[in-house]
Symmetry: C2
Subunit: 194 residues, 2 copies
């Protein structure tokens, strides 16, 4: 169950985890099943858990005053699901996170992970690199959203994350890109002609 997480950490760290460190991690990250459509986090709650996805798919989104959902993050195997702002600041989240597919995840709390940081230097290193990666990905997405027209945003996304096109329907992808499903449908039709 914890295999993918251990592998993930080792891929990021310069020195592999020792046996006792692996044990610590196994004790800290608790397996949890989240059924399709089940909430992992609801708007207004504090995000208490940081989830590593072993199997399945989740989405993070806000809901506007007209009830429309805006996808801010999509996650599948070997990704994390968490509202960092709420998790770090302990403030009520403005987002919902739910399972798009039946999901198996490994959960930990902020207190437990801060505790682990003190015991496993490799984890601090991993966290820093992960943050850097996350930060870079967000920067790119932000740049794309203000610099590129919808068609380029979609084709870049399709190139970069082909897996996601298989796992999520078009209206979810459209929302992630900040456009409507109708617009995405028309963009795709346009692209076929080329």
């Amino acid at each position: 169950m914890h295999g993918p997480l251990i592998k993930y950490i080792n891929d990021y760290a310069t020195t592999p985890l020792t046996g006792s460190e692996v044990e610590l991690i196994k004790n800290t990250f608790v397996p949890k099943r989240i059924r399709k459509k089940q909430y992992f986090l609801q708007e207004g709650e504090v995000c208490k858990y940081f989830a590593f996805i072993v199997k399945g798919a989740m989405r993070q989104y806000s809901v506007d005053d007209k009830g429309a959902e805006h996808i801010v993050q999509l996650s599948i195997e070997n990704w994390w699901a968490v509202d960092r702002e709420s998790f770090v600041m302990l403030t009520p989240s403005v987002y919902n996170i739910d399972a798009w597919e039946d999901t198996e995840a490994l959960l930990t709390t902020r207190a437990d992970i801060l505790n682990l940081y003190n015991q496993i230097p490799a984890l601090v290193e991993m966290a820093r690199k992960m943050d850097e990666k996350h930060s870079i990905a967000n920067q790119r997405r932000l740049n794309a959203s203000i610099s590129f027209p919808a068609e380029k945003r979609y084709s870049d996304f399709a190139n970069c994350y082909p897996e996601f096109l298989q796992r999520f329907p078009q209206h979810i992808i459209a929302s992630y890109l900040g456009i409507t499903k109708e617009t995405l449908s028309r963009i795709r039709k346009q692209m076929l002609k080329k």
Copy 2:
């Protein structure tokens, strides 16, 4: 000259820097003047330096195939200027960073700062908190860009960063928000009526 940086780090850390740590930092962060319009980073270069702005204002932007500039980041006193992706990955940057006002900054390289991390635990802590803060800000901006119309994005920005409205002209703010200067001008006119 290093005062604002020391204060900045102490504000983030749980324990204040010792005298010898302050000395280390002073030796690692090198003062540099950057004149208005002067490049700190040009597209295609690797971003070698991390800059803490003591005085002045800088902007980070990409230039599209039509020569239009898209502002991805604005920074003033007590902010950082760096292309994190290039700085961390050592890849050529797709951005330019230049001084919007005459600027005084404190510069360090990646090697030097990694070195400092090993000597000053408080700095690691600060870096993590700074990354978290940066990450949260980006997440909010991203959410805004896909969820809110231009008028709300502008009013939120104006509330959140009133200082920036004084320091940068409207066409720069417009670009930061992902709209044209004409649209921003019309949005402002609309808002006056309310």
